[in-house]
């Protein structure tokens, strides 16, 4: 009879769709009534994993379509519009094509290590979803070291990328892998520092705790630490290999970087994980800096996960936008940007966060007054830091403007060139410079 009671409990709670966790808790309790402990924990874990996979899989298919459509609109094209209504089935067709394609492996490849990466890359790609809070109690694992977990898991992907690039026995792949490794080691530093700022200020390492802090103090972190948010956004897009930092798979230079030699669905897996990572990183940016599932009381009326998805979508659109607009930086430029601009900037704000947090706690200031003041100070500091770095970190090459002059009557070699250059009149146009 208890089984039936459990079932009716599930049925009774189905309408409370604002909190999907209710469902899972009910199922676990129902199993715990009659089954062993371990079955309950295994079923919980499986349900979480299946839930994530069930959400991500279809979302990715739609996202491919969204990204292609949006980019197409940026580029004055229609984008996919042949397969299915409005081209919605195009990603499915692509996936079918990739699955049916022959999977090649270079003869000189290191076979074992070549086969593993497309599978292994999925592990961090899925694990990272586990700590994303979709609602007050809606994350698969609300770890109290959630931020560290996030960093640890995202760090392991580098190794897989290196394995892929090295084992392909291809120079493009190796160059891409080396670039990817160097990049993600470097960009992990500003990322860690940016998260450290939040951890210091909110006093918790739990990701849900950070959201709850924002809810409690009625403020979102992008207002308190705008530069940190910007740095995190850029560092994340660098870790995701998206333009303007997609040097590890720079098409115009090294073809496809570390996955040059992967064909068929093996490439498809890399692509899917990359897209999934983009989505989850947008989710984390929304969680850390935009208040996650909370939105000034709107979460009372709208399911929290819809709020998070909306914010995630906004960040994702921003990522597509930068990708569609900006050219790519060079490896050394990205490195010097990271070490000379992003790291000092985030370090500055770690110190600022320490000071402000200490002031808040030891002086016992009223947060409703102190936080807005701090936000204004920090926004000013951010603007100042950006202007300072723009001046200091700018290469000397760019200080002089590029000029185009018009030679009307002069035609000839060096002498004519000198006379054109010596003419005192203003050049026809002039760009750049200080």
């Amino acid at each position: 009879m208890t089984e039936l009671a459990g079932l009716s409990g599930i049925l009774g709670a189905w309408y409370d769709f604002r909190d999907l966790n209710n469902l899972q808790r009910l199922i676990t309790e129902w199993i715990a009534d009659w089954g062993p402990d371990w079955l309950a924990s295994i079923v919980t874990g499986l349900l979480g994993a299946l839930g994530i996979l069930g959400v991500i899989g279809p979302t990715l298919l739609v996202l491919i379509w969204v990204e292609r459509k949006v980019i197409a609109r940026f580029q004055q094209r229609y984008g996919p519009n042949r397969v299915g209504p409005k081209g919605l089935l195009q990603p499915v067709a692509d996936a079918v094509k990739l699955i049916l394609k022959e999977q090649l492996a270079p003869r000189a490849a290191d076979k074992l290590i070549f086969f593993l990466p497309p599978v292994l890359i999925f592990i961090p790609g899925i694990l990272i979803w586990g700590v994303l809070p979709f609602g007050p109690r809606m994350s698969v694992a609300d770890l109290n070291v959630g931020v560290l977990f996030l960093l640890a898991v995202s760090g392991t992907a580098v190794l897989v990328i290196f394995m892929a690039g090295w084992s392909s026995n291809n120079k493009y792949a190796l160059l891409g892998a080396m670039r990817a490794v160097a990049m993600s080691i470097s960009y992990e530093v500003p990322m860690v520092l940016a998260l450290l700022t939040l951890v210091v200020f909110s006093g918790t390492m739990s990701i849900n705790g950070i959201v709850e802090w924002q809810q409690q103090e009625d403020v979102i972190f992008i207002l308190l630490f705008p530069l940190t948010a910007l740095v995190f956004f850029f560092a994340a897009s660098a870790e995701l290999n998206r333009t303007p930092a997609d040097i590890s798979e720079a098409e115009s230079e090294i073809v496809a970087g570390y996955h040059t030699e992967y064909s068929g669905m093996r490439f498809g897996l890399f692509y899917a994980v990359e897209l999934g990572n983009t989505l989850v990183v947008s989710g984390f940016i929304a969680t850390f800096f935009l208040g996650g599932w909370w939105m000034w009381g709107l979460d009372e009326w709208v399911p929290s996960w819809i709020i998070l998805l909306a914010k995630t979508g906004a960040v994702y659109f921003l990522l597509i936008w930068t990708r569609g607009t900006l050219p790519r930086l060079r490896v050394d430029q990205l490195m010097s940007l990271c070490w000379k601009a992003l790291v000092p900037a985030t370090l500055l704000f770690v110190v600022v966060a320490f000071v402000q947090r200490t002031l808040l706690i030891s002086e016992g200031w009223d947060t409703t007054i102190a936080l807005p003041i701090m936000a204004v100070i920090n926004i000013g500091l951010s603007l100042g830091a950006i202007m300072l770095f723009a001046r200091v970190a700018r290469p000397a090459d760019l200080r002089r403007p590029a000029r185009i002059r018009m030679a009307g009557a002069e035609i000839g070699g060096l002498r004519a060139a000198r006379s054109v250059a010596a003419r005192s009149e203003e050049p026809q146009f002039q760009v750049g410079g200080d």
């Binding site: 402990d37 371990w38 070291v145 190794l159």
Partner: protein, 212 residues
């Protein structure tokens, strides 16, 4: 966690750890060895979890898998292909094996025979906060020393690994001088006197101009 799940976790993680470590011994390719090392490290991280040390486990993954193994791969990639051999040296393998077996017998004996008087209390909760607090309360001096050590290691590693062309030239010239039995002055290498061609007065050059 139930007893069965615990057993399952412990034995599979132990197999993963020991298996990975053994494969390092066997594999002849250094890059494979690093990959096995990562597997072993992940196993250890899992074992930390079975010991309810979640902070240490995450740090283990972050440092060993995310940083140290990548650093090793980098060092391997910076040396050429011929140096990626991971074979054991035959000369030392035999004696090493004997020593290791002796150590193993001794440690096993100690581990099993000693009465450790182990107690099983509830695991620490909120370890990150506790460890952090004790780091800056009780262990502030070691903490600071650790920071200095890391800085020193950073500076040292950069200073060691970095050798520009000029340094290389000075080094080579000093060795050559030693071989030849000469006195060596590094200034000659760093700032050699200009060749006569460059210091001579140039004839006035007619202005070059393209024919139009």
């Amino acid at each position: 966690m139930s007893e069965f799940g615990f057993h399952l976790a412990f034995w599979s993680l132990a197999a993963m750890t020991i298996g990975g470590a053994s494969m390092i011994m066997v594999s002849r390719n250094l890059i494979h060895a690093v990959v096995w090392l990562v597997l072993s490290m992940l196993g250890v991280a899992g074992l930390y979890l079975t010991l309810s040390a979640d902070f240490i486990a995450v740090v283990q993954v972050l440092i060993y898998v995310g940083a140290i193994s990548v650093l090793m791969l980098f060092a391997i990639m910076l040396t050429p292909r011929a140096e990626r051999d991971n074979s054991s040296s035959l000369k030392t393998a035999g004696p090493a094996g004997v020593v290791v077996i002796m150590v193993m017998i001794a440690t096993f004996w100690v581990a099993i025979d000693t009465d450790w008087g182990s107690v099983r209390e509830a695991a620490l909760t909120d370890q990150a906060r506790l460890i952090g607090e004790s780091l800056i309360k009780h262990y502030i001096l070691p903490f600071e020393i650790g920071a200095v050590l890391l800085t020193a290691a950073l500076v040292g590693a950069i200073a060691l690994a970095r050798e520009d062309d000029e340094d290389a030239a000075v080094h080579a010239a000093s060795l050559q001088a030693e071989l030849d039995g000469r006195e060596f002055d590094p200034v000659d290498v760093v700032d050699p006197p200009l060749p006569a061609v460059l210091t001579a007065e140039l004839p006035a050059e007619p202005e070059s101009e393209a024919r139009t």
